[in-house]
């Protein structure tokens, strides 16, 4: 079945503030939605609404044409969300973090961990506690986690934060491969990650 994510006239209020003013979009398999906008325009709020973590005051989010609220567990099962901060424990090693993070979702073998870490450039420091890693290395652990989760829909909040040039390329490559396999990506970005092309949509929040 063809998967799609659709936002219908999403309005979100944060206290007295009207954050999202009727966001509309439709995203199909093999497409990337880039969410741009200045700081404080609600990029993160939009992503959290799409995840089902925040409830919009008006409008709905549709996954494969049905309201996600109807079957949240199934929707969450096909979604991977990575926020500003990678959900990592400082006292666990990078490898342990991945094992416990992704393991809750799917069965993870040693091999899977090796592959994911290798792809994210994590060899050499994967047995070190995360507290000793740099912000960029943590972000790479998060990227390894993203590929491990095995979700079809990726929702990424500023995926290139703290990364060096090579790391940013890695993100672009991962997203490229993911949509090549028929995945869907929603990413909040500061600078445009991809030039506008057939597979790339863009919404600018104001």
């Amino acid at each position: 079945m063809e998967s799609s994510l659709q936002g219908e006239c999403l309005h979100l209020w944060r206290g007295e503030r009207h954050v999202l003013h009727g966001v509309d979009f439709k995203l199909r398999q093999g497409e990337v939605l880039q969410v741009t906008g200045a700081n404080g325009t609600g990029k993160t709020s939009l992503l959290r609404t799409l995840c089902g973590l925040a409830q919009p005051e008006e409008g709905r989010v549709l996954w494969n044409g049905t309201d996600v609220k109807r079957d949240l567990p199934a929707y969450h099962g096909s979604l991977a969300y990575i926020g500003h901060e990678a959900p990592l424990k400082a006292d666990l090693t990078a490898r342990e973090n991945l094992r416990y993070w992704a393991g809750v979702r799917r069965r993870v073998t040693r091999n899977d961990l090796d592959t994911a870490l290798q792809k994210a450039g994590g060899e050499g420091w994967d047995e070190r506690p995360v507290r000793t890693l740099s912000a960029g290395q943590r972000r790479r652990v998060a990227l390894a986690g993203l590929s491990l989760l095995g979700a079809i829909l990726w929702i990424l909040d500023e995926p290139t934060t703290n990364l060096d040039a090579e790391g940013r390329e890695l993100v672009a490559r991962m997203i490229d491969e993911h949509i090549g396999r028929g995945g869907l990506v929603v990413a909040a970005v500061h600078h445009e990650l991809f030039p506008d092309s057939a597979g790339s949509r863009r919404i600018e929040l104001t």
Binding site: R48, C51, G52, L53, A54, Q55, P73, A74, H76, G77, L79, Y81, G83, E85, A86, P87, L88, K89, A90, D91, L92, E96, R99, Y100, W101, G103, V104, R105, R106, R107, V108, D112, G150, I152, R181, G182, G183
Partner: protein, 231 residues
Amino acid sequence: MNTAPAPASALDAAQLILQRDLILAFRKRGQIAQPLAFFAIVVTLFPLAVSPELARLREVAPAALWIGALLASLLALEFLFRDDAQDGTLEQYALCGHSLTWLLFAKTAAHWLMTGLPLALIAPLAGLALGVPPGSGSGIVAAVTLGTLSLSLLGAIGAALTLGVKRGGVLLTLLTLPLALPILIFGARATELAIRGADFAAPLYLLAAFAVLGVTLAPLAAAAAVRINLE
């Protein structure tokens, strides 16, 4: 996505969470040691404050043990969800497709294994310092085991509700303490009967009933509170 990975069952997920939390607790031992040390100190203060006379100490022993255990459990509750909420782990749990209720139950169980169970195990030892006959040890362990289990579950609701509050420790205590009173009453009663060598089954059953009620309802409430805090 042609090779979809095998999904983890809810049981696998709970097992991983349990394992993870135990590993984390052993890496920062302070979290396990602090409530125990607190309990030991509170209980040993009683002979100093009341009188070193064993007969009188034996009378206040149930009160001393239970107030100590109650406060130590409350002290430990703050760690229950706080770290995971701060680093986004709870968010990932809420988005993993498993029931959040079940995952929080696993977390609470891990928390109890690290705080409540050790308390129950050292309670008879602390009781010895208060002149409690060694024969009543099993009754004390049973009562404190059930009592701390209920406290952990009850505290999970409070901990989840106060996630959004900065330095919510005091609020958490104020919120949980009044609700914990039945546990204190029946726990102390069971302990008192055990010390006297009488039949302590009745209050123990009531404690067990609280624990069962907690197991069934507390994770549901905690999950609802966590969801509100994530929004």
